[in-house]
Symmetry: C2
Subunit: 260 residues, 2 copies
Amino acid sequence: MRWFFNFSSLLVLLNFGMLNRSCEAMSTKRILVYGGKGALGSVCVDTFKAQKWWVGNIDSKANDIADVNIVVDSKSDLLEQEKSVIDQLQSSLGGDKVDAIICVAGGWAGGNASSKDFVKNCDLTYKQSAITSVIASSIAAKLLKTGGLLTFTGSAAALDPTPGMIGYGMFKASVHHLTKSLGASNSGLPAESTVVALLPITLDTPMNRKFMPTANFASWTPLDYVSSLLVKWCNNESRPPTGSLVKLETENNQTQTKIV
Amino acid sequence: MRWFFNFSSLLVLLNFGMLNRSCEAMSTKRILVYGGKGALGSVCVDTFKAQKWWVGNIDSKANDIADVNIVVDSKSDLLEQEKSVIDQLQSSLGGDKVDAIICVAGGWAGGNASSKDFVKNCDLTYKQSAITSVIASSIAAKLLKTGGLLTFTGSAAALDPTPGMIGYGMFKASVHHLTKSLGASNSGLPAESTVVALLPITLDTPMNRKFMPTANFASWTPLDYVSSLLVKWCNNESRPPTGSLVKLETENNQTQTKIV
């Protein structure tokens, strides 16, 4: 009797454990971080992993923390990159869809029309901002769940003319327009999904600290503020209306969001 | 005496003729038409030739009416196209500069994010609108005269979200931003130059008539209205302020310009 009791207790415990793991697998939320090896992207991958999300990284470099890495050749053209990303994702996800896609890929390159690198930097900023955002949109149309979230990274500076960084401004402006189009009716995104662009002024990245060592860091937006905001929106808390451009304003180490 | 008189008259006439030709050469105004074999571009080439301008055509196809043709491979990337255009232009112009550059290259491709050709059409509209405008800007920085004119072709539709033609909207929006940046201080354009984007609603082209045969053509903007407007601006008459987006509104066959 004592043996029997112990054995059945063990069976119950085993069954409960299996059920628990099964529920966990079913409820695991999935996010794709486009640019998940960059400064902001790495913090996002860490944050979502700490929240027990399944995280896929899409980047030119793998992030060992991510569950899956989709490595892209960021120098190739839009059509080649998109095909490669979609093929790899469909194979990795095996028919599953994702709860969120956050495109935090980006970069910066300056120059006015007479600068030596004007055209080169237009090409670079097109690849950094526009190509990644178009591919993220294509992924969303194919692999985002109903009610899912898609975010882009725009730029507060690109709300105005940017004569000293012409390519950067023009392609961030294209990301803003993309956000508004995807947020309108019949844009091709899944039903009830939300698309938002974050418009930082300056993010507090190691690279920005290196190149602007005397700036007032208290007016820069911390990366973990951004990743926490994204976690909240991904959990469907306080999401802005779809199609919104959300400016991040930081003053005295306090950040506020403002729909512009 | 009679022979001498005739001979000197001949010399005078010859000198006068040479002087005349020299003055004519000095006063001949030069324009580059980017997309000068397209529907609007061909009309512009004809119109400026009729006004005795020297006309260079930059297009994937030559225009026999033009004085010089710079043929580009519109399928290659931005850096390749720009190098090819600048090399050919510097060779053709032999150190001269131009009075105006009008970028009337363009096209249209639709589709929302779930359409089969979404990414392909983003790539196409990037090439049609953004690449040509960036190269025109680079030409302007290098080869436009002080006080010259640079124009782009934007789109009135892209002032709003364009969910049914996402790529078209996002890259026309990038052209609008480019216009504003180039119109700001220290943009790298020659001193006193003017940059303007024309924002048509629908141009009355043969292709548009073919694909929208039942539309109200009286609300479409005639191509010769656009070319006449460009002639006026090129002659420095009624130019809008630099950085302007100029919408073309046509109703009952009457077109008005409106700075937006």
